[in-house]
């Protein structure tokens, strides 16, 4: 099959370079010898990586964020995918209403939700708890999953699933065997966005956290607000390296599988 023209491909790669541009800055900044976010002046230094690896505060924040982001993204992916599939099959006005409703968490400015959440959690005793943050992040991440999985579903031929059902498969089996494999890329990107949403979420955390819950964004905010602490650049670089390593490992494994 012939691909798109050279001009189109050139544009696509330019956009990808644009996406990577901030990374090209964050890497040298993480190696700065200065006490604030800046390009290195005289020499390269690993002090902010050392800070990250030796500071109990940063480690505790990373673990808290990891837990919150994994659990909330898990909840969002499961509930969001189910919701998208249900709406897809219903395909009526109810489905449309449910999908519009699911968008509300990204329409409402976060600070307004945070304010409501504060009053609500105060009654339930969930302020300044990880459970409280997880629930809030899960519900605000569902829209991403619903939108992306719905978009993925619109490319799926409903007859495939109907065929499976007519051969005697129940809805659960039909979903697992036919739909879920087709939806894997959409679920993965939805889950990724849900994870990143929680991993980067600051407004809710600042409003409902107190002395105990100190997620990574809050730690970074604390450092940047006060003195542009370059440790957040080191966090970004480590994450990029880690995720790049995982992605390349995946590429390599697939390439090997295709060869054999």
């Amino acid at each position: 099959m012939e691909g798109p023209g050279r001009g189109i491909r050139g544009t696509a790669w330019t956009v990808i370079l644009f996406l990577l541009l901030p990374l090209a800055v964050v890497l040298p900044v993480s190696l700065t010898d200065q006490p604030y976010l800046s390009l290195p002046l005289h020499t390269l230094s690993l002090q902010y990586y050392a800070n990250l690896l030796h500071s109990a505060d940063w480690q505790s924040s990373i673990l808290q964020s990891l837990l919150v982001a994994c659990v909330s993204a898990g909840i969002a992916v499961i509930l969001g995918t189910l919701c998208a599939i249900g709406c897809w099959r219903m395909g009526d006005h109810w489905a449309k209403a449910i999908q519009a409703l699911m968008l509300i968490p990204i329409v409402v400015p976060t600070i307004v939700y945070a304010l409501g959440l504060y009053r609500f959690y105060a009654q339930l005793g969930l302020l300044d708890t990880l459970l409280g943050i997880i629930l809030a992040h899960a519900v605000t991440a569902i829209p991403y999953v619903v939108v992306i999985v719905s978009t993925g579903l619109s490319g799926v031929d409903a007859r495939l699933e109907q065929a499976a059902r007519s051969l005697g498969a129940g809805p659960i089996v039909a979903m697992r065997r036919v739909l879920l494999p087709l939806l894997r890329p959409a679920m993965l990107s939805g889950g990724l966005f849900a994870f990143v949403h929680s991993w980067d979420e600051l407004v809710i955390v600042l409003f409902i956290a107190g002395r105990r819950v100190f997620t990574l964004p809050r730690r970074m905010w604390d450092g940047i607000n006060d003195k542009l602490d370059p440790t957040l650049a080191a966090v970004a670089v480590l994450l990029v390296i880690l995720s790049a390593a995982l992605l390349f490992l995946d590429l390599w494994l697939r390439a090997r599988r295709e060869q054999t």
Binding site: P4, I8, A12, V15, I16, F18, L19, P22, L23, V25, V26, L37, I78, L79, C83, G86, C87, W88, R89, M90, K96, I98, Q99, L101, M102, L103, I106, V107, P109, T110, I111, V112, G116, F120, A138, I142, P143, Y144, V147, T151, L153, S154, G155, V156, A158, Q162, P171, P185, A186, V203, M220, L232, V235, A236, S243, A244, L247, L251, R254, A255
Partner: protein
Amino acid sequence: MNSGAYRWFPIPALLLLVLAYLVPLSQVLMISVTDPELGLGNYALLVTSPSIARVLATTARICVITATAALVLGYVVAYCMTQARPAVRRLMLVGVLLPLWVSVLARSFAWVTLLRREGVVNSVLMGAGLIQSPLPLMWNEFGVSVGMIHTMLPYAILPMASHMRGLDPALMAAARGMGASRAQAFRRVFLPLSLPGVIGAGVLVLIFSLGFYVTPVLLGGGRVRMVAEYISLQIQELLQWGTGTMLATALIAAIGLLLFLLSRAVGLRALSGAR
């Protein structure tokens, strides 16, 4: 056909939405008619306050610019990803996914480093003799748009790409086989088929950009005031909770109306992903 079982699928998500979102939200939105006094005084501000009108206009302008740029550029990337060999596609995917791991805070400061007066971009351009004095790339709507488009691109690319991959490549091949040029086959076959993905991504990106807070604050230099910052100021500093929650309510109504009109225009099935 027995689709009865599927009716239950959205229930868990709806339960979570109602309990953890709509209940606390509705309590707080009530403030818009009770604070500082009972009545619709806050809603009158929508038509009487020039500063709110300006904030909303700025927000709409930047969101439309951001969403359009992210969709057009993102479409090109998604299209190339779909058409590329698997290895190249995954490489492109890596390029799209990596920036997600850099927090919005770190990214904003990277843009400051790149775009400020004595920043990397201006230094390179001046070193190359292309410009005589630094370009105003930051502390204005341009800088804010660059930062927002960058953040939004992955959210535009991934839904469009995952939708395009579900399309049947045989259709394009058939069109070509019947003598259509590459451009014709794209315009007549691929583009219309890929539209639901574009609409899904567009809704996500447009709505998502409404809520931007950090990027306009850090890259706008105080000049670019978007609705999220305005609302936050009302709630956190000025304690004008009525005004802040009124604006949130108005946003929900405006987006609801937009979705309604959109579903009328493109058909509700395309929007809900149903066939």
